[in-house]
Point group: C2
Chain length 302, copies 2
């Protein structure tokens, strides 16, 4: 924890991250953004020949889809719903008085049709399902968006609003598990090429509550989730900078994703935590990008 | 309105925008994003020599700053606050039952410390104020973020989550009003260079309620806001694709922004509605970017 605070303070002092007064909610300097842009170009280079369809969703999604996704069952503590004022002039006067008195004015906000996107791929499944059956050779999608998770923290690698780049593959079990394995290999190579120590380990999602423990154990036992770990604020407790997820046919069933032969599609996704990768680079090579090793600068900026 | 629906349908059919089931909340195709990226490079080219400090805030901001900004006084109907589940296992069981029964589960969500960013510059003022006095030559900042406004609409140019690029200038009255005039001239030239018909007109913000009418009239009378208008879905009711705002010393007073000589800073901002500009290009030159006029393609893609 001390290492996390100390790294966060150094990031604030250097101006790479900007304190907003809320833990896990930071501004980014132009330099920080330039590192993320460079790493995204590296992703494009490595994944580009696969011919994924690029889609960019905004940082919020249809709340009806969010509800159907089951996110509130598994991760209610992390979710964010968007609420708005829906009153008239009279209600507005009351709101302003409440604000003036330092009261809880937000209690009268009403839920809108929008929930914040918890992972870049959540809006994709219903979108693809609406198109009809997938071709037998499957589907491949390239996504990126800001995502929200309500977990205030002094660990700069645990932000409430952060960007996730993802590739999502839909098809047969063999197809999507091979896709996942390809990206595990590529991920290790990419991180090595920018001078980062990596390991891959089996993992589980942070399922909520007592019942969640069972789900987490089940996910581990079936090797459904792997993470690529890099030291950011600690050599012993490393940070997950990529994740590799096989959903079996769970999303296919839920959203009605079928292949042309009528079989339910299996799905897998690989996600890059873009802020975490940038932070891993700053932790490993220092806060001054000009002083990073030449071979790393060459991979990132050519 | 029919023209708006028809243009939105054509955008959906072409795949440039992707229906998410919520009015004003759309996915974007890779092609759509490429147009926005190209236009942002044009902004960089036009504004780059000014030496603005680039900062990128996430799509949410500190709710305490949001409250202090006065947004809930002027535009409560447009604001979005982020709410989360903060209960225990027992509460979670109740939530899931409510969801199961199709009940109003969101009523138990609690407001977090985060409000959605209503305009890219809102998080900037408190950030700059914390740094201490501005140099006498002033400050210039380059911002971009997704912004939220709760105004569901079938007009593709009125989205609930959209990107705003902004330059913000802080300094003396003469300095910031000259900055604003420079960008009005540049904006007209930029839009002409990409084949768009433009005009600039005085404007007002959509202040809420009865009292809002007075504020809007006052803003117009004092020429505090101008908009650059381009036909998107209508030749007669044009769409504001840029705005040019002079805040006098209102934000300087509110946030404690001072110059080195102790004077309260004046501020001005110019904003680009990036989705609106992309839509104006598609409306003017057609949905197939390959068929756009050569001189337009040359300006955007070199």
């Amino acid at each position: 924890m001390d290492m996390q605070v100390s790294f966060l303070d150094r990031l604030f002092d250097s101006g790479l991250l900007i304190d907003t007064g809320v833990d896990g909610l930071y501004g980014r300097s132009g330099q920080f953004e330039d590192v993320i842009a460079a790493f995204e170009r590296l992703i494009d280079k490595v994944g580009g020949a696969d011919g994924a369809e690029a889609i960019r969703f905004p940082p919020g999604m249809n709340r009806a889809y969010f509800e159907k996704s089951g996110y509130m069952k598994s991760f209610p503590q992390l979710a964010g719903t968007v609420h708005s004022f829906c009153g008239n002039d009279h209600d507005h006067a009351g709101l302003l008085q409440c604000l003036e008195e330092g009261g809880e004015w937000t209690k009268d906000q009403k839920a809108t049709d929008i929930a914040l996107t918890p992972a870049a791929c959540y809006p994709l499944y219903p979108t693809v399902a609406k198109r009809g059956p997938l071709p037998m050779e499957g589907g491949l999608f390239d996504l990126q968006s800001y995502c929200f998770r309500h977990e205030p923290s002094k660990d700069p690698a645990r932000q409430q609003l952060f960007r996730m780049r993802e590739y999502v593959c839909m098809g047969t079990e063999d197809h999507v598990t091979a896709f996942r394995q390809t990206w595990m290999d590529r991920g290790v190579e990419m991180m090595k090429s920018i001078g980062l120590d990596v390991e891959i380990d089996v993992a589980n999602d942070p399922f909520f509550g007592r019942a969640g423990r069972l789900l987490a154990n089940n996910q581990r036992d079936q090797n459904l989730k792997f993470e690529l770990l890099i030291p950011v604020t600690s050599q012993t407790k490393k940070t997950a900078c990529m994740s590799f997820n096989y959903h079996q046919d769970a999303f296919g069933q839920k959203w009605g994703l079928n292949l042309e032969d009528g079989a339910v599609a299996h799905t897998a996704c690989v996600g890059f935590g873009l802020e975490r990768i940038a932070l891993a680079l700053f932790a490993q090579h220092g806060l001054d990008v000009k002083l990073w090793p030449d071979h790393v600068r060459k991979v990132l900026w050519g």
